[in-house]
């Protein structure tokens, strides 16, 4: 426990030092900061925009904005939540982007672990069911679900980046799962009887 706290403090100190170097214009340090956060930033941006190119543009824009605002950042605090707040806030067309996302078709290939051809129809139907269950959530609640369930952010991280209370994040996730389980139960029964 103590070592965990110590390790966290040490990581925080290293990050503070990194941020300090970026403040002095150190290109290598800035590159390191980008490497640390670009993947998760891309995940958030992609969930907001639904497009790879737009997501990459948004990530770049957020890093540049963070660099511009760096003098106002308290380097003793973790960089991540501050940076992700900038990223989410920069997605000014959040609701428009989510609307575009919601009307998107199911991707032809679903990730690296694409299902077998004979299971594709079943997979697609599951997707429809899930979308129907999630459609009752607000855009921001859907974002909470995606960031937590798909992209591996913790409830605290999601709360920090969306500037909402952590219990609200947990309630949203709980509610989404409850609706989803109910929908999946109905689907399973229909499938077994049909």
């Amino acid at each position: 426990m103590v070592s965990g706290t110590g390790s966290h403090a040490s990581a925080q100190a290293a990050e503070s030092e990194l941020v300090g170097r970026v403040r002095q214009g150190d290109t290598e340090a800035f590159g390191e900061l980008v490497r640390r956060y670009e993947r998760r930033a891309f995940a958030v941006a992609y969930r907001l925009t639904g497009q790879r190119q737009d997501a990459e543009d948004m990530v770049q824009d957020a890093f540049i904005a963070a660099l511009d605002k760096l003098d106002g950042f308290d380097a003793e605090r973790p960089f991540g939540p501050w940076f992700f707040r900038i990223l989410v806030n920069r997605g000014t067309s959040l609701s428009r982007a989510l609307k575009v996302r919601a009307t998107e078709e199911i991707p032809g290939t679903i990730g690296d672990t694409a299902p077998l051809p004979d299971r594709l129809a079943e997979h697609a139907e599951t997707g429809e069911r899930v979308r129907a269950a999630i459609a009752t959530l607000s855009a921001r609640q859907r974002l909470v679900v995606q960031l937590y369930e798909l992209d591996g952010f913790t409830t605290a991280e999601v709360a920090g980046m969306l500037e909402i209370a952590e219990p609200t994040v947990r309630w949203t996730l709980h509610e989404a799962r409850r609706r989803l389980r109910a929908e999946l139960e109905i689907w399973k029964k229909e499938r077994d009887h049909g």
């Binding site: 790879r52 660099l67 991707p107 990730g111 798909l150 219990p167 989803l180």
Partner: protein, 125 residues
């Protein structure tokens, strides 16, 4: 009951996870190195503006200010000293002229300050 479930929020429900992936899909493949290079390149001028100047640039900047300031100070000091010297000459000339008018001995006229006062009193007595 609901609160208890909320507190136990944990990732790793495979069925839920599969269902979400079916609905929203995974992230598209991205060239991370290229993205990093693109971002770093876009930040190039901003980073350069943040970089503190090296000692040569600092010395040069100070020299641009210090050398003219030093020359100006030297000129003022020189002018000041010359003016003081002229003023001292004028005072001595006045004393000599006054002494001549009062017909004081020339050795008294050559005195100044406190010595002159003592000499004048002594002369009066």
């Amino acid at each position: 009951m609901a609160d208890e479930n909320i507190e136990q929020m944990e990732p790793g429900d495979p069925e839920i996870s599969v269902a979400y992936r079916a609905a929203f899909g995974d992230l598209p493949a991205t060239d991370w190195r290229m993205l990093e290079a693109r971002i770093t390149d876009a930040a190039r001028f901003r980073l350069a503006a943040r970089r503190p100047a090296g000692w040569r640039a600092t010395a040069s900047r100070w020299a641009r200010i210090a050398i003219p300031a030093g020359l100006a100070a030297s000129a003022l000091l020189g002018a000041g000293l010359a003016w003081r010297a002229d003023e001292d000459d004028v005072v001595l000339e006045d004393i000599a002229a006054t002494a001549a008018v009062d017909e004081l001995p020339t050795d008294i006229a050559s005195l100044g300050g406190e010595s002159l006062v003592y000499a004048l009193f002594a002369d009066g007595e």
